[in-house]
Amino acid sequence: MSASANPQLEPTLSTRRNTESAATGPKRILVLGATSGIAEACIRLWAERGDSLYLVARNADKLAAVAADARTRGASYVNFAVADLDKTETHPEMLAHAINSLAGLDIAYLALGVLGEQPRAERNFDEAAAILHTNFVAPVSLLTWLANYCTQRHSGTLAVLSSVAGDRGRKSNYIYGSSKAGLSAFLAGLRNRIDREGVKVITIKPGPVKTAMTQSMKGSEKFADVEKVATTIVKAIDKGQDELYVPGIWRIIMGVIVHIPESIFKKLNL
């Protein structure tokens, strides 16, 4: 997936209005995985304050509904593209097109991800590989391009949905968990590399949130409210916070869980 094959897709392109990136004006936001429950709740908040949005997701009908909602709520600009983000070879062209359309980029928000089927993935490597691809490999492809684009301009925020499940592997969802662990590690390293270049990298670790993705899970009626979660995330992105647990209680819970000695942890049913 070499971007340099086509000079038009070089990250250096589309600088035309990048300098106008006003701290106070509407933000130019690219949302990847825009039909995910948490992403949609954030999109509503950005739209209400008049930001510019470029939305990418796989399902055209769902994407059209999310875009119509954003437009109605008052986003100053809304465009969208239907794309299967698993296809990493299409990323450079899609990203270049999105940034051209937004006339620059202030925030890239990555919300792509699947829960997968853990029991199936335990027996079937193809299922495991598909989870790892969507949750880890594809975001790495997107972030590689985006990081280089932002670094050249010394501006921009890359906000990425990881998960508390990545903090420690456990038997009920370690395939999903390991994909998010990989993503969190990648983000920590990327932040270490490009924060000094003026690019913010934000790792967002939600606990269980009530969305379409989690509706079939046991106890889902007690999960966190997606609107509250989105409000916290949008604030953290504005502040440029490095790492965010949401709801905040999960920082404490995971702080305890990662410190349980492995000799005990391996016997727990988690």
Partner: protein, 453 residues
């Protein structure tokens, strides 16, 4: 413990008790959310038995229930699709609540054309029950402000419904109790306002003649409703407060409402609801307004939604739940019938806190099964008391029938098939538009098909 897992312990949840706002009856049902307009009818795959779309579950009886069936909850299908500030025409998915519409509309200087006493109902539910508000005399019911919607049938047919396109499905779906299909999106004509405030007046009255005089004197006012005391007898029989309001014409703040913080904490124990406490409540409410006539500028929240400030207030009626009795009587019998029915209620000693009396105007409802008719409307909550509440409801239903009125299906848990078929003689014609995959416990009860499924 922690995060997203799908394992053997965490598969699609099974049947669980589902309650409507009255908390009676309570039936087991499986709940499947509809997140997207395209989810129905695909969601029916693997479902046996009937289904019913449900929004916030704020209707009182069993019109939003389906015993041992599947409820398709629409509340996350709640996107705004378009808004034209020149005309006030809003297009939105059917699971959006009126509260969410207000959050969007009020800061832009718009308000609902018709609103019930709670804003926690969905757009789809408001159409399906063709709800009415305090401005029925001038505005008609909710369906009068819905020029168009999409209805999806269980066979996958998508129907655009309006007075011109599929007019019979349009009429059958407005007030159609969700039985004609799933409403995916709808249009609603909002009306302009310049302030959150209401020019409010409250006037004490004694007896139905004073009520009817006030109604006549203030017929130029958009919103009117009365609270009446259904406990006191003698000279205080049918005393009440006539409340009226118009949207203030003085430009004022248009910020969105804060979120409510109070939640009724527990189910009240049964002994708390007795004649003494209820009578005290009614006396306090009557005299809360110290002067016989008050005039003030009031925010729209306490004016339209006084009970929304306390979430889950239905817990006040305890575990057993509550029954609501709501009738409409035609003008020919309205006065005589209202006095007779209220006397029956007062004598029963079962009346409770909030009894509401208002008039319905002449604007015809567009729904085939709509509740309003020109005349008097009355609504009252009863606590459920074994052996007394149900026979009383039966008597009151019969009286309503004998006076040529009807009861409101959205509030009902007690109508008999015989009563229903007299109140809504067009029910057989309506049944032709019902979706074969969709049914409700209410429908099975009042058409006498219980257990047929």
């Amino acid at each position: 413990m922690a995060h997203p897992t799908v394992t053997e312990e965490a598969t699609t949840s099974g049947p669980a008790p589902f309650e409507s706002w009255g908390r009676y009856p309570s039936y087991n049902a499986v709940v499947r959310p509809l997140h997207w307009q395209g989810d129905f009818p695909g969601v029916l795959e693997g479902i046996h038995g009937g289904v019913l779309a449900v929004g916030m579950g704020r209707s009182y009886g069993d019109v939003c229930l389906l015993k041992e069936g599947t409820l398709l909850q629409t509340t996350s299908m709640n996107r705004l699709l378009a808004f034209d500030p020149a005309t006030g025409l809003l297009t939105a998915e059917a699971g959006i609540t009126l509260a969410q519409i207000l959050d969007f509309a009020v800061p832009r200087g718009f308000f609902l054309p018709v609103t019930p006493g709670t804003k926690y109902v969905t757009l789809g539910g408001a159409i399906a029950n063709d709800i009415h508000g305090k401005n029925h005399e001038v505005a008609g019911s909710f369906g009068n402000h819905v020029p168009q919607f999409e209805l999806v049938r269980s066979n996958g047919t998508h129907m655009l419904c309006s007075p011109r396109e599929n007019p019979d499905y349009y009429a059958a779906t407005i007030g159609g109790m969700g039985l004609t299909g799933v409403i995916t999106w709808a249009q609603l004509i909002l009306k302009p306002i310049v302030s959150r405030k209401i020019d409010y007046e409250g006037i004490q009255f004694h007896g139905i003649d004073e009520f009817l005089d006030l109604k006549e004197r203030y017929k130029h006012i958009e919103y009117t409703v009365s609270w009446i005391d259904c406990v006191s007898r003698g000279k205080n029989f049918m005393r009440g407060i006539f409340m009226l309001g118009d949207h203030s014409k003085d430009p004022g703040e248009l910020k969105p409402s804060p979120k409510p913080k109070l939640v009724f904490p527990i189910e009240a124990p049964a002994f708390m609801l007795n004649r003494a406490t209820i009578s005290a409540f009614n006396t306090v409410f009557f005299h809360k307004q110290l002067k016989p006539h008050v005039k003030t500028l009031q925010d729209y929240e306490p004016f339209f939604y006084p009970l929304d400030a306390i979430l889950k207030w239905n817990r006040m009626y305890g575990k057993a739940g509550l029954l609501q009795f709501q009738y409409a009587l035609p003008w020919e019998t309205a006065k005589e019938g209202t006095i007779a029915i209220l006397r029956e209620i007062t004598n029963s000693g079962l009346a409770s806190f909030l009894a509401v009396l208002k008039t319905f105007g002449d604007v015809p409802s567009l729904g085939m099964m709509s509740f309003p008719m020109p005349g008097i409307m009355f609504a009252l909550d009863f606590p459920i008391k074994e052996n007394v509440s149900f026979p009383l409801m039966q008597r009151l239903g019969d009286m309503t029938r004998d006076f040529g009125g009807r009861l409101y299906s959205a509030k009902d848990a007690c109508m008999t098939p015989d009563q229903f078929k007299t109140f809504y003689p067009q029910w057989e014609r309506f049944a032709r538009y019902k979706d074969p995959a969709i049914t409700s416990s209410f429908w099975e009860r009042v058409t006498g098909q219980e257990g047929d499924r």
